[in-house]
């Protein structure tokens, strides 16, 4: 089995995440698209780990999972905060973050 299929799957997943990030306005979908892009990088790392015969790639992917978890916690906290102050999950409400509270 050749690694080409895995590379194809990783690039397709990255692109699907990019499309979701560009075209949607729901904050939850944006969050899950970012997670999907990070996971596709994880898949790429695991594939390279097997291609090169080096277990270090798996270790980096494992550390990436920790980074993804930190990102998830912060993003969900921000969504909850925005929902409390604006009663909306539209990504346009992020623009009011810079102006402070009125």
């Amino acid at each position: 089995m050749s690694p080409n299929l895995f590379f194809l799957l990783a690039s397709l997943l990255f692109s699907i995440g990019l499309i979701g990030l560009v075209s949607r306005r729901n904050l939850f979908v944006l969050y899950m698209s970012i997670e999907l892009m990070l996971s596709s990088v994880n898949l790429l790392l695991a594939t390279f780990s097997k291609v090169l015969g080096d277990a270090g790639g798996s270790v980096i992917a494992l550390l990436m999972i920790g980074v993804i978890a930190a990102e998830a916690a912060l993003f969900l906290a921000m969504i909850v905060h925005i929902y409390r102050s604006h009663k909306s999950v539209d990504s346009d409400t992020f623009s009011t973050l810079a102006q402070g509270r009125e």
Binding site: L12, S15, R25, N26, F28, E35, K50, A70, A73
Partner: protein, 180 residues
Amino acid sequence: MLEISIFSILALFMLGGSITMIMSRQTVFSAFGFLVAMIALAGIFALLDARFLALAQIMVSVGAIVVLSTLTILTINMKLENLPYERNKYKWMFFAFILALPITLLMYKSTTAMYESFNTLEVVTSKVVGKLLFSEWVLAFEIVSILLLAAMVGAIVIARKEIPKLEIPKQEISNKEEGV
């Protein structure tokens, strides 16, 4: 042959789940698509002989991240008419697809041009991963642990409710001073 069929099923689940995630209007359906994609990704990790990574993917991504986001979605409980109004969703998706197509081709061509076949690697068990994690990658491991701590504190600070400031009436303070 068996590997290719398992890979096709998992890849089908992954692509279907992620496309469901970006297409569906209801946020809960997006979360379910994301869940399917993450479970299939764990299966693909297992197919790549990274056993510990597959287990960590199931425990952290599926068990923590997806469950946490589903819980947040269900807690917020947006009505369908209160969701953001996306007027030209499919038009934007089409433009983003055109934008992403050359990037996809570039990624695919540049990664496949380097390597032709898999190396013969023994199965990456938790023993190998643990030895590497605490010898070669120990600095990165510590940095990730500090990052997780900072993210935990930051999430608590961002998501907490505003605490009203305690106002101590001046009368009491002056009374106390007189008593002393």
